[in-house]
Amino acid sequence: MMKSNHMNQYAVNLIFILMACASIFPFVLLVMASFTDQKAIINDGYSLLPSVFSLEAYKYMMQSSSSLIRAYGITVFITIFGTVVGLAISTMLAYPLSRSDMPLRKVMSFLVFFTLLFNGGLVSTYLIYTEVFHIKNTIWALIIPGLLTNGFYILLIRTFFSTSIPAAIIESAYIDGASEFKIFYRIVLPLSLPILATIGLMLGISYWNDWFNGLIFVTDSKLFSIQNMLNRMLSDIQFLQKSSMTNAAQASSNIPTDSVRMAIAVIGIVPIFCAYPFFQKFFVKGLTLGAVKG
């Protein structure tokens, strides 16, 4: 393309610098609040430059942190366990569906696809998990409902397998006497790292960020993930604003100060912000894969 035909690069870059600022501004505010003295937040409000710098919030977290560490541990555990197991069952289901010689392939693919079109809704999902499977207040409540895999991921993986793994390789390995499992582990999976990374990342992020399953299935604070802890603190503030003064005074003693809450929110974000640059390539690739119909 000819140079004269380019848009003014300065203008374009300026627009994106403004957009980038708008995207990260609230995070900067959050981080700054966590480093601000509590009295300063009350007097001067949230601001981009702390009027009184303080590490109190982080010190407080370090000292009174047994429940925090526990919540963090639960989040890490469900993220790793859920991602690994979810990825395993998703790929194992997707692989046979990608094989053109697999019997009942069309029926099973439809069963997967149909879950994207229709669902039973919150009430029946909730009642089935609590009344039939009794997962309320168990760690399974944070792992299984609606998180382990979904039809969309399965269809994405299936499409990847059927478009980028030549049937001839599988055929010849089978003739050479390799078992189906061996073909899957030794040939198919190693050739599929981009899709595994993408789906793994999506699963990992949804586990790390999940607060909904904890909200509806967990009342025991010992099982709170970091997101549920954050959520509980938010609803306590809500309660505080609604209730009468005496109740409020009692409740407020249990609620960490603004800066501590913001500090806990910060440590809830940090792992994602740290991991993201390494996975950015896969994530963007995954989004674009997601745009291709399954």
């Binding site: 046979p96 019997p103 919150l122 299984i144 382990l148 999940d210 745009a291």
Partner: protein, 309 residues
């Protein structure tokens, strides 16, 4: 016919390893997705925990009668459709515009950098977004009331008890969180457009704006249409986190923040009104399903290759 049976058994034996692989995922989908589909009959039942979900007495259409007699039914339907309609239009228009602009950033490093930054809000949980909104809008010490409004000489506003501001707030938060994601999907489609079109247009003397109008937008329209139809098919479902966390589930705000999802949640978890809640859930699932079928039917009439099924 023993011959066919024999053949079936033989095929099954040949593929048993693959059937074994399918098993865990299928069991999961049955538990997580198919059992609740049958549970949808709860909307027609008078749930009694002692008798169990399926053993409870039938209530006919009573749950629906109660639901549609309330003013809530109208409010949640209106809010759900208006918000989602607004989100679809604004998000698509902005994402397309941003994607076209992003494609004009010639420095590849900077382009990647911008992509990463505008995607960050998409990666954050809605609880955290609730915290960010609180830091901005908190009545006593929020950023807006303390830093922004004084600049214009405006008195502090009690954001969390004034319903009239929330359509704007929720729309802005939704844009902030999701446009980066949509934009990257469109960017991928733009990058996929053959460069020869642009070269030919340049030789013919077309300026940038003409190129965008006559090449980029028409070639991008299939992607825009499919994204629009996917969202229209889900117009009865809302982002629960957005409508629950960002307004902090605040009662006074409900006239402008309550959607079907939050209503169903509240009925089930805080009010214990399972009858009404399941009727609303049924309404949502079934109307949602019909909308998917209708939107798919429309795409199939217009351009069959873009239809979902």
């Amino acid at each position: 016919m023993p011959g066919t049976l024999h053949k079936t058994l033989k095929t099954f034996k040949r593929y048993r390893a693959l059937f074994l692989m399918v098993l865990p995922g299928m069991i999961y989908l049955i538990i997580n997705n198919y059992l609740p589909m049958f549970g949808i009959v709860i909307a027609f039942k008078n749930i009694n925990y002692r008798k169990g979900i399926f053993g409870s007495d039938w209530a006919g259409l009573k749950n629906f009668e109660y639901l549609f007699k309330t003013a809530d039914a109208w409010v949640i339907t209106r809010n759900t459709i208006l918000y989602n309609g607004l989100f679809i239009i604004i998000n698509l228009a902005l994402a397309v515009a941003v994607a076209i602009l992003l494609n004009e950033v010639k420095n590849r490093f900077m382009s990647r950098f911008y992509q990463s930054i505008i995607l960050l809000p998409y990666l954050i949980s809605m609880v955290i977004v609730g915290y960010l909104a609180l830091a901005m809008l908190n009545g006593e010490n929020g950023f807006f009331n303390h830093q922004v409004l004084p600049l214009f000489g405006i008195e502090p506003i009690s954001w969390y008890s004034e319903p009239k501001y929330w359509p704007y707030i929720l729309t802005i938060v939704n844009i902030w969180k999701n446009v980066g994601y949509l934009c990257i999907i469109f960017l991928a489609a733009i990058v996929g457009i053959d460069n020869e079109y642009y070269e030919a247009a340049t030789l013919d003397g077309a300026n940038k704006w003409q190129q965008i109008r006559t090449i980029t937008l028409p070639l991008l329209s299939p992607a825009i249409i499919i994204m629009a139809l996917l969202s229209i098919g889900r117009i009865f479902y809302s982002d629960f986190g957005l409508f629950y966390q960002v307004p902090l589930n605040s009662g006074p705000l409900q006239p402008t923040t309550d959607v079907i999802d939050t209503y169903v949640y509240r009925g089930l978890m805080t009010l214990g009104d399972i009858g009404m809640s399941s009727a609303a859930g049924f309404y949502q699932s079934v109307v949602g399903f019909v909308l998917v079928l209708v939107s798919n039917f429309i795409i199939r009439r217009k351009s069959p290759e873009q239809a979902l099924f």
